[in-house]
Symmetry: C2
């Protein structure tokens, strides 16, 4: 069983699908309250934290880069030039499409090592450890921070938007 | 292989260990800047969001409740009365000790179903799906929100505090 596929692709695709819902609620809030959407897109929780747009870009980058490594695939590169909610949603959609294009057979059970950049160095560890200690926490960090930035700005969101519907 | 053990206990123990580091940096910041620690502990990102103390309590509750279900064990119950950083850290430490007391043999490969409360109802799904779609996202959500509340209040934290050191 290609565990690394089953533990990563549905989990992260779901997180990104929920991220799209959160962004769409942000866009709807801006429209309803006649707020310039760029105010929300440029909002930060602290002056030296990244703004919402960068949080979304990084969530997508960790998702596609991290999971591509597990699949021994090449991740697509996107310009970091999204300036609207629609463009941010499109980046997330492209990322989901890439994840869904990966075939379970490209993955293993998590024993295969991956090498990834850390600042100016690289590190190598088993794929399972990489998924559970780096990729998943990091994707959820940036999805949560996007949610928190919008919540902090008064967008009506609940944790159900972050977790998504229970379909079973 | 008891996959549900390997995917859950080390992952969540690590998230909670990092949460302790984040809380300790919050406590040190309050002391250095002569801020009443209860100001940080009661801080929220929005008036109807939970304060930091509740974020930590929920992170611990999702961790012990969710993983206990996967192990068919009974989770300990804690009073929600922590009022200091030291007490919050202690709650997280007790939670880690509980997780580490669970034996791999109590877990399965993720096919066994779990039943969990959702508002006034219950839901049942395979353990693997429960771990990846509910437990892990939810634990990371509350750990990230704790980090974001402190960061928003000027505590000097970086994502390395959230992710923890790379030990391999």
């Amino acid at each position: 069983m290609p565990l690394m596929h089953d533990a990563s692709v549905p989990t992260v695709t779901r997180a990104l699908t929920n991220l799209i819902s959160v962004l769409e609620k942000g866009a709807a809030h801006a429209e309803a309250k006649k707020i310039d959407p760029s105010v929300l897109i440029g909002s930060r929780l602290y002056p030296d934290m990244f703004p919402l747009s960068r949080q979304v870009q990084i969530a997508a980058d960790i998702a596609k880069g991290g999971i591509a490594r597990l699949a021994q695939a090449e991740a697509p590169k996107y310009d970091d030039n999204e300036a609207t909610f629609a463009e941010l949603v499109e980046r997330v959609r492209k990322t989901i499409a890439f994840l869904e294009s990966l075939k379970p057979a490209q993955f293993d059970d998590g024993a295969r090592t991956v090498t990834f950049p850390v600042q100016k160095d690289t590190k190598t560890m088993p794929g399972a450890r990489y998924l559970y200690t780096r990729v998943l926490p990091n994707v959820f960090f940036h999805c949560t921070t996007t949610y928190n930035i919008l919540r902090h700005n008064g967008v009506e969101l609940g944790k159900g938007d972050f977790l998504g519907p229970i379909t079973d």
